[in-house]
């Protein structure tokens, strides 16, 4: 009885989600390089990207990352469908905005927007740089793949700038609730700790939302 996937699947969402939260910190820190003046940013960004690609440990972490995204999305989809079935008939009059936040009630929709973002994002970068699909990535003067230019060119297109920046908003809301919720799912119940967690989650979500949202705009206007 104890080993039942359905019984523990919520923990799986929380674990993969929290891992993705850690990843986002690293990812944003690296992307912050793009805010520097172009000549410095270019060299730093390309050598950083090169170091990552050459590191076998990072290769392993990257696979954990892909698996986490897929697991998180698939299990979240299963739970969302199961939860919907648990309330087959909705209320005719619903004032649930008075007792809970809209983003906590729409994690699935926010998550789906993020998933769409992730797919396009991977097509823009990962597919081109790692898989070699699409236009070839040139080398910079140090002989590293010129990832900076790939980014720079992408963000000369206003539509991509808008897409990346606007989707940072659902990301922020998903992270705000997800971080708070994930810890509780995993059994963190210390009252004062939870109050601190709520504040930390808010700050984290704002940094992630603003950070990821602003980089494309800054690059566009550079």
């Amino acid at each position: 009885m104890a080993l039942n996937f359905l019984f523990y699947r919520k923990s799986l969402i929380a674990l993969t989600g929290l891992f993705l939260c850690v990843f986002l910190v690293v990812h944003l820190s690296a992307n912050a390089i793009l805010l520097l003046p172009n000549d410095i940013a270019s060299e730093l960004y390309n050598s950083y990207s090169h170091t990552l690609r050459e590191n076998p440990l990072i290769t392993v972490v990257a696979y954990v990352l892909y698996i986490s995204i897929v697991l998180h999305a698939v299990v979240a989809l299963l739970i969302t469908l199961h939860n919907r079935k648990a309330k087959p008939q909705k209320y005719i009059m619903d004032k649930s905005q008075q007792n809970s936040s809209w983003y906590s009630k729409n994690m699935g929709i926010l998550g789906t927007l993020i998933l769409i973002f992730i797919i396009i994002h991977l097509a823009n970068f990962w597919a081109r740089i790692k898989l070699g699909i699409g236009e070839e990535v040139l080398l910079d003067k140090n002989g590293y793949k010129d990832v900076f230019s790939v980014t720079y060119e992408l963000f000369q297109n206003i539509w991509f700038v808008l897409f990346y920046s606007i989707l940072a908003i659902p990301l922020a809301f998903h992270l705000y609730h997800g971080l708070k919720s994930g810890f509780k799912t995993l059994g963190f119940y210390h009252k004062k700790g939870l109050r601190i967690l709520a504040k930390v989650s808010l700050i984290y979500a704002i940094i992630m939302g603003v950070g990821f949202g602003i980089i494309p705009i800054v690059v566009y206007f550079k």
């Binding site: 939860n83 087959p88 009059m93 007792n99 995993l186 119940y189």
Partner: protein, 247 residues
């Protein structure tokens, strides 16, 4: 005062229900919400119409029988209050009030505003008790329990099983109810001996009954008449993990 009630009428669990409109005059502000429904039913009797079915027992907020969804919220517009404690002064003359039964797959509608909450009983049966013979009441200080622990257990024990948490939860999760029952017993020495079996059996039954899983929207703790804290659910999750590792 005059109120337009729109009330869910449904013959039995198999039939399709619908909202019916009733214009009710002669209500006063100091009537409780249930008294207003009684008043409406008296008029229906005089008109030879079938009365509206709703549940109640104590009418003082302790039995947990009276739950209905009023104007889009469990037990009406206030936080932490049962339907029987709600009074007509919370509404204005001429208001329209929509009354619906709890809606959840695991709480099938029996008739009108009455739902079958026996899923809760089956969760209770899985372990919300201690199996040792207790005999006559023991000397009250025989088992020392620190004040903080006793308070915590008492806070959880306050759950009256009304079902508002399930009703208001978008996932129809019974996690607040179940966690209150588990934490009540598991935080006391009398409940310790069976703590792991209790957590596993009761959370398993909760899932078997078809309740959804908790996503911490927080709606339940706002609507709970006993203000049971949602941290109880996080604590239940911790106990579940502990039971899995040590049990």
């Amino acid at each position: 005062m005059k109120i337009t009630f729109k009330i869910w009428r449904q013959k039995n669990s198999d039939s399709k229900g619908t909202l019916k409109t009733y214009d009710v005059d002669g209500l006063t502000e100091d009537m409780s919400f249930l008294e207003a429904l009684d008043h409406l039913n008296e008029q229906l009797v005089l008109k030879n119409e079938e009365v509206i079915a709703y549940e109640y027992d104590c009418r003082e907020g302790i039995c947990g029988q009276c739950g209905v969804f009023i104007n889009g919220r469990a037990h009406g517009p206030h936080d932490h209050m049962t339907t029987c404690q709600l009074h007509m002064r919370s509404f204005k003359d001429g208001d329209t009030i929509v009354v619906e039964p709890w809606r959840a797959k695991s709480f099938p509608i029996i008739k009108d505003l009455i739902v079958d909450r026996s899923a809760f009983d089956r969760i209770i049966e899985e372990g919300a008790y201690i199996s040792s013979k207790t005999g006559t009441a023991p000397e009250s200080n025989a088992i020392p329990i620190p004040k903080a622990k006793a308070d915590k257990a008492m806070d959880a024990a306050a759950c009256i099983g009304c079902g508002a948490c399930v009703a208001t939860c978008k996932n129809s999760s019974a996690a607040l109810f179940t966690s209150a029952k588990i934490n009540h017993l598991n935080s006391l020495p009398q409940g310790k001996a069976e703590e792991h079996e209790r957590v596993e059996a009761m959370t398993w039954q909760m899932k078997e009954e078809g309740f959804g899983s908790c996503t911490f929207t927080g709606a339940c703790e706002v609507e709970c008449p006993e203000a049971i804290s949602i941290t109880n659910i996080a604590e239940m999750n911790a106990r579940k993990l502990k039971a899995k590792l040590l049990g």
